[in-house]
Amino acid sequence: MTRQALGLLACLRATLLRELQIAVSSPGKVVNPLMFFVIASALFPLSGRLDLAVLGSIAPGILWVTALLAVMLSMEGLFRSDFDDGTLEQLLLSPQPLYFHLLVKVLGHWLVTGLPLVVIAPLLGLLLNLPAAGYQPLILGLLLGTPTLSLVAAIGTALTVGLARSGLLLAVLILPLSIPVLVFGAGVVDTALNGLPVAGLFSLLGALLLLAASLAPLAIAASLRISVQ
C-alpha cells in the first residue's frame, strides 16, 4: 500500500481501531470493570438476609448503581496513558477535528468496557432474582444509558488526568452529574416491573444520550486543553 489520502471517516476509524487494539493488548482493561460489576452487585445480597421478592424489587437499583460505578472507575484510564506518554498533545495539535476524534475515542472505550456490562447484566439479573419483565428494559436502558455515563465520566477524567490518585475525586465530580441517567435508567426497569408504559422514559434516556454526545466532546476538549497546559 502506498500513500493514500484518508477521508475524515477513515481517520476516525483509525482512532477507533487504536482504542480497540490497546484494549486487546491489556485484557485487564476489559475484564476488570466486568469483574467489578459482578462482585459489587453480589455484595448487596450478601449484606443482609433479604427475602427474594425484596431482592428482586431492588435489583434494578443495585445493577444500575454498580454499573455506574464500574463505568466511572473504568474511565479513569481513558486519557491517562495518552497523557503520560505525550500522545494527548499530538491529538490536540493535530489538524483533525478534535470533536469527532474524542467522540470516537469514548465510543471505543465504551465498546470494550460499557458494552460487556450490558451483555452480562441479564446474568446478574438472574442472580438478583430480577422478575422476567425487567430484563428487556434493563438491557435497553443500559444500552442507552452507559454511553451517556461514559461521556459524562470522560469529562471528569479529562479534568483530573493531570492529577495523581484521581479515583475518589473523579467519583465526587462525576456521580452527581450522572444521577439523571441513573434515575431514568433504573426507573425504566422499575416502571416495567410495575406494568406501566416505559416509552417515555426510554425517550428521555435517548435524549440524554444525544445531549451528552453532542455537548460532552466540547467539554472534554476544553478540559484536556486545560490539563495539558
Binding site: A42, P45, L52
Partner: protein, 250 residues
C-alpha cells in the same frame, strides 16, 4: 527433604519426570472419564426424584469438589514458592489457577442449570453457593493480579502472596454458612444416609467420572506446567536441545 525438594523444584527435572508417566496418566484419565460419562449419561437409570436432570451430577460434583481442593493445592504451591523460591511451584500454582477457575465456573453453571428444575430458580443466596461464588472471585483476583505485571518475577511473587491471603478467607467463608440455612444438597446422594434411594447404577459411574475428572485435573495442570517450563526456560540449553531434537508441529 530439602535435597529432594530442590531436585523436584528444578524445572528440568520436573519436565523429565513427568514425561515418563504422562501417557499413563492420560490413558487412565480418559478410560475413567469415558466409562463414567458414557455409563452415567447414557445408561444409568433416571433418579427417582429428579429424573434425567440428575445426570449433571457427573460433572457438577467432581468439578465443584475439585475447584475447592485445587485452591488448597495452589496455596501450598504458593507457599513453597515464597519460602523456598521454587520456580516449578509457581508454575504449578499458575496452572492450578487456570484449571481451578475453569472448574469453578463449570460447577457454577452446571449447578445453576440443575437448580432451575430442582429448586425452581437458577440461583439462591445461600451459604454454600455464595461461598463458592466468592471462591471464583478469589481465583479471578489472583489471575487478574498475575496478568497485571509486566515482569514475570514480580507477577509470580505477588500472585503467591494474594493466594495465601485468600486462604485465610476460606474457612471464614465456610463458617459464614452458620448464618444462612442452606437449600443446597448436603453430602446426600453419594453419602450412605439414603444410599437406598440411589442404586449402585447411579453412584458407580459417579465414582468413575469423579476420579476421571481428578485425573483430568492433574493432567491439565501437568501439561500446562510443562508448557510454562518450556516457555520460561526457552533460553536454557536443555530446552534448546529438546526443541531441536523433537520435531515441532507449530
Amino acid at each position: 527433604m530439602m535435597q529432594w525438594l530442590y531436585k523436584l523444584g528444578s524445572p528440568r527435572h520436573f519436565y523429565e519426570m513427568t514425561t515418563g508417566f504422562l501417557p499413563w496418566l492420560a490413558g487412565a484419565t480418559f478410560l475413567l472419564l469415558g466409562i463414567g460419562l458414557v455409563w452415567g449419561l447414557g445408561f444409568a437409570p433416571p433418579d427417582y426424584q429428579m429424573g434425567d436432570n440428575f445426570r449433571i451430577i457427573y460433572i457438577h460434583v467432581p468439578t465443584a469438589t475439585g475447584a475447592i481442593w485445587i485452591y488448597a493445592m495452589m496455596a501450598a504451591m504458593a507457599a513453597m514458592h515464597l519460602v523456598w523460591n521454587l520456580k516449578v511451584a509457581d508454575m504449578v500454582a499458575k496452572s492450578c489457577g487456570i484449571v481451578g477457575t475453569s472448574f469453578c465456573a463449570i460447577a457454577l453453571f452446571t449447578g445453576a442449570f440443575w437448580g432451575k428444575p430442582t429448586w425452581g430458580t437458577y440461583w439462591i443466596w445461600d451459604a454454600k453457593l455464595t461461598s463458592f461464588l466468592i471462591l471464583l472471585f478469589v481465583y479471578i483476583g489472583v489471575m487478574a493480579l498475575r496478568s497485571a505485571f509486566d515482569s514475570e518475577t514480580s507477577a509470580s511473587k505477588a500472585a503467591s502472596v494474594l493466594t495465601l491471603v485468600g486462604v485465610v478467607n476460606l474457612p471464614i467463608i465456610y463458617y459464614a454458612a452458620v448464618w444462612w440455612n442452606t437449600l443446597h444438597q448436603g453430602p446426600s446422594v453419594l453419602g450412605d444416609r439414603d444410599a437406598s434411594a440411589n442404586p449402585p447404577e447411579i453412584w458407580i459411574p459417579a465414582f468413575f467420572s469423579g476420579f476421571g475428572l481428578i485425573g483430568l485435573l492433574f493432567l491439565i495442570v501437568i501439561l500446562h506446567t510443562r508448557n510454562e517450563i518450556l516457555y520460561r526456560e526457552r533460553r536454557a540449553q536443555w530446552v534448546q536441545e529438546l526443541l531441536t531434537r523433537e520435531p515441532i508441529h507449530a
